[in-house]
Amino acid sequence: MSSESPEAGPPVVTPVRVVIALCLFAPFVAMLWVGSYAKVDPAFIGIPFFYWYQMLWVLLSTALTMTAYKLWQRDQRARRGGTK
C-alpha cells in the first residue's frame, strides 16, 4: 500500500493542500456570483461581457485544476517517498 494511515504520516492539512482546495473552490465563487458578470459592457469583438467572461473562466478554471493536479501529484509523491 502506498499511503500510510493519517496518524503516522505528515499532518492532513498542509499549506499545499490549502492551495489545492482554493484552486478547486475559486471557480464556484466566480461562477455562482452571477451579479458580478451580468452585464453587456465591456464587449470583446462584439461579444457582450457576460459571454466572453464565462468563456474566459473555462480557461481559468482549467489552469486552476491543472495547478491543483500538479500540486497533488507532488504532494503524493513526497508522502510516498517517506515522511518529509
Binding site: 478547486l24 473552490f25 471557480p27 455562482l32 464587449a43 461579444i47 457582450p48 473562466w57
Partner: protein, 536 residues
C-alpha cells in the same frame, strides 16, 4: 419545413453513417481481452482505456447530440438564461477532481461495475442500492429518447423526416434504420463500439464548430450585428435578453450548480469513468475535458447567429440544423448533420449499456438470481441494453416530444438525489443507510411534485425546472432545493437512528481501498501507457 430532400447533404450524411457502422462492428476486435464473457469486458471495455480514449469517450458521452441542439435552441428562444450550460460544465471538473478518483479506486478493488454496487458494498443495504439503481435507470431512459429526438431534428431538416401527410412508417423509417444499426453493434461490441466511434464524432464536431464560429459571423457581418439582431428580437418579443435580469440570477446560479452536482451521478458518466485504466487517467482528464466546455460555449453562440440569420422555426430544436442548412454549402451541411447524428449514437449506446449494467447487477443479480455467472450477467446485460433502446424508441415514436423533454427534466432532479449516498459514502461512513434512503425519498417526492406544479405559457405542468425556493423567496432550480432537503433529512435522521442504535449494516470496504491505484495488491496492474499522456 423543407420542400425537398437535400441530396448532397444526405449523401454525405449516409457516407459517415456507414463508416461508423463498420467501425462499430469492428470495435469488438479492438483491444480484445481473453475473458470476453465477463461484464467487465462488454460493459466496461475491459477497464483498459487510457487518457485519450477516456477523454473522447467521456466527451462523446457527456456532450450529447441533444446538448448540441438544445443549448443553442435555449439561447435562440430565451437568450442569456440558456447559457448556464457553460458555468455548469466549468464547475463539473473541480468537483469530480475531488471524488471520482476515490470511486475509481474502490470500484477497481471490489469489482464494482455500477454506483449501486458501491452503495450496496459500503452501506450493506440492498434497499438503498435498489433506490440508486432505479433512479439511474429512470433518469437515463428519457435521456436516450432525447438522443433520438436529436437525430429526428437533423433528418427533418434534410427533408427525409417526411411532412405531416406522409404515413408514419415512411416518416420514421430512417430513424428505425439508424436505431437498428446502433442496437446491433452495441449488442455485439459493448462499450468498445461507442469508444471507437467517439473519435469520429468528436473530430467532426470540433471541425464543424471551428468552421461555424468563424464562417457564419463573417457572413452575417460580425458579432456586433449578431448580438444587435438578437437584442432587438428579445426586446420585441418581451422575452429573454442578452444578460440575465436580477430576478433570473438565482435561477442561473442554482441551475449551474445543481446540474454540475448531478452530471456524474448519471450512470453513463460513471460507466465511462470506470472504463479507464488508472486513477491518474481520471485526474488528468479533469484538466483536459474543459476543452469541450469551450466548444459548448461557442456552440451556444450559434443560437444568436440563428436569430441574426433570420432562421424562423416554430420548434426551437430545429434552429441549429436549419442554420447549418441555410448557411453552409450542401456538402458541409451534410458533415454538420453527420456530426449531430453520430453525436446521438455515442451517448445512446453508452447510456443503454449503463442502464443495462444497473439492471443486471443491482436488480437481476441482487434480487432475481443471486448465483448468476459472469456469462449470464453479460447475456442479461446485452438483452436489457436492447430492451432499453426499444423502450426509448417507442417513447419517441408514440408520445409527444415534450413528454421526453419533461421526463429528462425530471430525470435531472431525480438523479441528483443519489448524491448524498454516493459522494457522501465515498468520504464518510457516518450517514445511516436508512437516513439516506429517507432523504432520497423526500428529495424525489418534493422534486417531482414541485416540477409538476410549474406552468409555462405552453404547458400546464413541467413547464420548467425552476421554482420559488421555500424560505428564501428567490426562484431557484428545483433539483437543488430537493437536494438540500434530502441532505437535511439525512443528517437529522442519522442523529436519531444513531441515538436509537439502529443496525448500521456491514461495510465491506476499508479506508485504504479509496486511494488504491493500479499496481497495488488486488488491483489490476497498469499497462504501460499506449499513448503519450498529458503529463509525466
Amino acid at each position: 419545413m423543407n420542400d425537398g430532400v437535400n441530396g448532397v447533404a444526405l449523401g454525405v450524411f449516409i457516407f459517415f453513417f456507414l463508416a461508423v457502422t463498420v467501425m462499430g462492428f469492428l470495435a469488438a476486435r479492438w483491444r480484445k481481452a481473453e475473458n470476453e464473457h465477463s461484464l467487465d469486458e462488454w460493459g466496461l471495455g475491459g477497464r483498459s482505456f487510457g487518457t485519450w480514449v477516456t477523454w473522447f469517450l467521456l466527451g462523446g458521452d457527456l456532450y450529447t447530440a441533444y446538448t448540441f441542439v438544445a443549448v443553442p435552441a435555449a439561447i435562440y428562444a430565451a437568450g442569456a438564461a440558456g447559457f448556464f450550460a457553460v458555468p455548469y460544465t466549468i464547475l463539473v471538473y473541480p468537483l469530480i477532481f475531488t471524488f471520482l478518483p476515490r470511486l475509481w479506486s474502490v470500484s477497481h478493488k471490489h469489482g464494482y461495475v455500477t454506483t449501486s454496487d458501491f452503495v450496496r458494498g459500503r452501506f450493506g443495504s440492498k434497499g438503498l442500492s435498489l433506490a440508486v439503481a432505479v433512479t439511474g435507470i429512470l433518469a437515463t431512459m428519457p435521456y436516450i429518447a432525447l438522443q433520438l429526438v436529436g437525430i429526428q431534428a437533423v433528418l427533418d431538416v434534410m427533408g427525409v423526416g417526411g411532412g405531416e401527410d406522409t404515413n408514419w412508417f415512411v416518416k420514421d423509417l430512417p430513424l428505425l434504420i439508424a436505431f437498428g444499426v446502433l442496437a446491433a453493434y452495441t449488442y455485439s461490441s459493448g462499450l468498445r463500439a461507442p469508444a471507437l466511434i467517439a473519435f469520429v464524432k468528436d473530430t467532426l464536431i470540433y471541425i464543424v464548430i471551428a468552421v461555424a464560429i468563424i464562417y457564419i459571423p463573417i457572413k452575417l457581418g460580425g458579432f456586433d450585428e449578431v448580438f444587435g439582431a438578437a437584442s432587438e428580437k428579445y426586446t420585441a418579443a418581451k422575452a429573454g435578453g442578452l444578460v440575465p435580469l436580477e430576478a433570473g440570477q438565482w435561477t442561473y446560479a442554482t441551475l449551474a450548480l445543481g446540474s454540475a452536482l448531478a452530471l456524474f451521478m448519471y450512470p453513463h458518466s460513471i460507466t465511462a469513468t470506470l472504463s479507464s485504466r488508472s486513477r491518474e487517467v481520471i485526474r488528468r482528464n479533469t484538466t483536459i475535458l474543459p476543452l469541450y466546455s469551450l466548444m459548448l460555449g461557442l456552440l451556444a453562440l450559434l443560437g444568436f447567429m440563428a436569430i441574426a440569420a433570420g432562421v424562423k422555426v416554430t420548434n426551437p430544436q430545429l434552429a441549429i440544423p436549419q442554420l447549418f442548412e441555410d448557411m453552409f454549402p450542401d456538402w458541409f451541411a451534410g458533415v454538420a448533420f453527420a456530426a449531430i447524428g453520430i453525436g446521438a449514437l455515442v451517448p445512446a449506446a453508452i447510456m443503454s449499456i449503463a442502464a443495462a449494467n444497473l439492471f443486471t447487477r443491482n436488480i437481476y443479480k441482487d434480487f432475481i438470481k443471486p448465483d448468476a455467472t459472469p456469462q449470464q450477467e453479460t447475456k442479461v446485460s446485452k438483452l436489457v441494453s436492447l430492451l432499453v433502446k426499444v423502450g426509448a424508441l417507442v417513447f419517441v415514436l408514440t408520445m409527444d416530444k415534450t413528454v421526453a423533454i419533461n421526463f429528462q427534466l425530471l430525470g435531472g432532479i431525480w438523479i441528483l438525489q443519489t448524491f448524498p449516498a454516493l459522494v457522501g459514502g465515498l468520504f464518510t461512513r457516518w450517514f445511516h443507510r436508512w437516513a439516506l434512503l429517507a432523504g432520497w425519498a423526500v428529495g424525489m417526492i418534493y422534486g417531482t411534485v414541485a416540477a409538476y406544479g410549474v406552468a409555462s405559457p405552453t404547458q400546464k405542468h413541467f413547464g420548467g425546472s425552476a421554482k420559488e425556493i421555500p424560505g428564501i423567496g428567490e426562484i431557484g432550480y428545483i433539483g437543488l432545493t430537493a437536494f438540500v432537503l434530502n441532505v437535511v433529512v439525512t443528517v437529522v435522521l442519522t442523529f436519531v437512528l444513531k441515538a436509537f442504535k439502529a443496525p448500521e449494516g456491514i461495510d465491506e470496504t476499508s479506508p485504504e481501498d479509496y486511494t488504491a491505484d493500479a499496481g497495488d495488491p488486488g488491483v489490476q496492474v497498469e499497462l504501460p501507457p499506449a499513448t503519450a499522456g498529458a503529463s509525466h
